[in-house]
Subunit: 138 residues, 3 copies
Amino acid sequence: MIEQQQFSISTRGRGTYDITREVQKIAQQSGIQTGLCHVFTHHTSASLILCENADPTVRGDLERFMARIAPDGDPLFQHADEGPDDMPAHIRSILTNMDLTVPVTSGRCALGTWQGIYLWEHRAHGHSRRVTVTIQGE
Amino acid sequence: MIEQQQFSISTRGRGTYDITREVQKIAQQSGIQTGLCHVFTHHTSASLILCENADPTVRGDLERFMARIAPDGDPLFQHADEGPDDMPAHIRSILTNMDLTVPVTSGRCALGTWQGIYLWEHRAHGHSRRVTVTIQGE
Amino acid sequence: MIEQQQFSISTRGRGTYDITREVQKIAQQSGIQTGLCHVFTHHTSASLILCENADPTVRGDLERFMARIAPDGDPLFQHADEGPDDMPAHIRSILTNMDLTVPVTSGRCALGTWQGIYLWEHRAHGHSRRVTVTIQGE
């Protein structure tokens, strides 16, 4: 069995957006009991992460960390066609990935207690980000 | 065909733990000849990596690298509920991921000669870490 | 349905090599309409990334970024059996991963407009790099 669905998320600029509920809903509606749930975003300046879901300062610290290792406007970068946040957004996306896969067990994404699925917008301004969820199993 | 199994590993604190044998055993016992083997850990302060399996100083250098880019007790981090290693553990996990997928060929995980599968504990103290292995194929 | 194929790519040393066409061809020839396409490289000093495919300076900046956070010959690293680029190559591979998975929709890898699939050679000299592509779906 296979189920594939797409949704979009309108970001309000840099930051993390919880998509756990959307993904979990697609997984549960698929009727698949045991398998895998793959989540993908079709961009090069946004990424998907599994992150601690209890304390929002964790995601604030993630931003601060990225701002330190790949800061906006860094003179190291030649590519700045779309502004000082352009190349940092590509680097942050590649370091944290555009795809992730979670096991499906008993008809649900078997996330750990503290694991949430987040889309991470790396551009300063808001964008519409397309996400495809694919569930395979039986 | 699909096979899903879980196991736990008791870590003794920060460091890498070779789980190649456990994963390979589940893959081989599944009877699946061609497909994919997905490995997942249900936590936000431990990760899974494919790493060189011959010289242990490689994994020592990985620790030293992470200690440089995301050091314990860094004043940059606001989240320190569980101690100075709390936020660095989240960052290190997100940079190296909680999941990985390896092709299954001729009934085995088709790892390269030097590739081992390691659970990387990022907390200073030991924890019990849950791992789910899912194999799909024919 | 499942399809698995392998190919090799001869690198000319450090840099990114576009393999989108090879992967897309295998996906399309599989006849699978809806599913997932997994790409894997069997090494510990090369990786696979989804990266912006329009401006080559993006990939140049990626190299410059990695040269800053994990430079060749860094005295932090004890493992240098194969030269000053040995340990940096392992670190860069682990930060960017040896595997990635893309959804298959309407018989093609559903890449975003600006997403290309690149093999990233992290060793200074050229190597032959083995890639396995596995497509599952219906």
